[in-house]
Amino acid sequence: MIDFTEEQLERYSRHILLDDVDVDGQEKLLQAKVLIVGAGGLGSPAALYLAAAGVGTVGIIDNDVVEISNLQRQIAHFSKDINIPKVQSATEKMSAINPDIRIRTYREYLCADNISEIIMDYDFIIDGTDNFPTKFLVNDACVFLGIPFSHGGILRFNGQTMTIIPGQTACYRCSFRKPPPDEVPLCAQAGVLGAVAGMLGTIQSAETLKYITGAGDLLTNSLLTFDAKTMTFRKIRLDRHENCPICGSEPQITELVDAEQAVCGLA
C-alpha cells in the first residue's frame, strides 16, 4: 500500500472522493503503465489527462516534430515547440502538470517489427494514430499480447471510439475486417474541427482511467460515434465475431505485417 504524501492527497483529492475510485483506485493509477500511440490530436489530451490523473508510467510514441498546422488541435504543443519532436514537447507539458509520474518516450514509427517489444510492458494502450494501417496493427498486436486498448478516430466533425479487452470483447477487426482500400489519407485534405480531437481523446482518457480503477462499465462491444455538427452521440452494438480473422475461433491472421501506409500527420 502506498503512503500518500500530504501533497498527493490534495492533488488527487477529487479522485479519492469518488466512491468508485477512492484510495485504492488512485493507488492503481499510480502503479499503472499506459502507452499513448501518437502525440497528435488524440494523444495530446490523453497525455495531459493521464499525467494529471497520476498514471504512474506514461509512454508516448511519435516520430514527428511539431508543425504550425498541428497547433489548431494538438493541445499539448505550443507555438514555441515548432520543429521540436512531439514526444519531447508532450513530455515537458506532462512533467509540468505532474512531476510525480515517469514518462517514457519513443521517437519512432510503430511497425510490425517493433510494436510487440514496445507495447508488451504496458497495462493499457491508447490508439491515437491517424491512419488505418497503424490502427489495425495496434489491434492485432494487442490481441496477440492480450493488452486492452482504446481505439479512436476523428474526421471533420466526427469521432468514433471503442474499448477492446482482447479475448473477452469484440476487437476492431470483428467489425472492420481490413483497412479501407485506396484509402484517402485522413489528413491534410479532409480537415477536422480542432475541439473534436479533444472530445475524442478525452473520452479515450476516461476509458483508460475507468479500466485501471475498475470504475463503471467500459465502452466494450459497442462503438461510440458522434457528430459535432448536430452534437449527436450514438452507441452502436458490435458483437464479437466467431469468424473474426484474428480473435475468432479459426484465425487467419497469425503474425503481424505492415500494410503499406500513407504516413500523414493529422490526428
Partner: protein
C-alpha cells in the same frame, strides 16, 4: 454492565476543512478492516454537517457523535 465503544484508529481533524477531512477519513478507512471503529474529531460547522453524512452514504455506520468542550465533535464510525 456498560459497554464503551473505543476507536481502533483515531484521527484528530481539527482545523482540516472540507473536503480534505473526508479524504483523510477515506485514507484511514483504506487501512482498516471491515467492522473496525474509526474515531474522528471534526470541527463544528461544515465538517460535522458533511463528513458523517458522506460516510453514511458510502455504507459506513455512524455510531455516535458528541460535542466537546471546545465546540469540536467526537465521532465514532464503524467501517462497512
Amino acid at each position: 454492565m456498560t459497554t464503551t465503544i473505543t476507536a481502533e484508529v483515531f484521527q484528530d481533524l481539527r482545523g482540516v476543512g472540507c473536503p480534505m477531512n473526508l479524504v483523510k477519513t477515506k485514507v484511514a478507512f483504506s487501512k482498516m478492516k471491515s467492522g473496525q471503529i474509526l474515531g474522528l474529531i471534526l470541527d463544528n460547522g461544515p465538517p460535522i454537517n458533511n463528513v458523517p453524512r458522506s460516510v453514511t452514504r458510502e455504507g459506513h455506520e455512524v455510531l455516535s457523535q458528541e460535542q466537546l468542550a471546545d465546540g469540536a465533535w467526537s465521532v465514532l464510525i464503524r467501517k462497512a
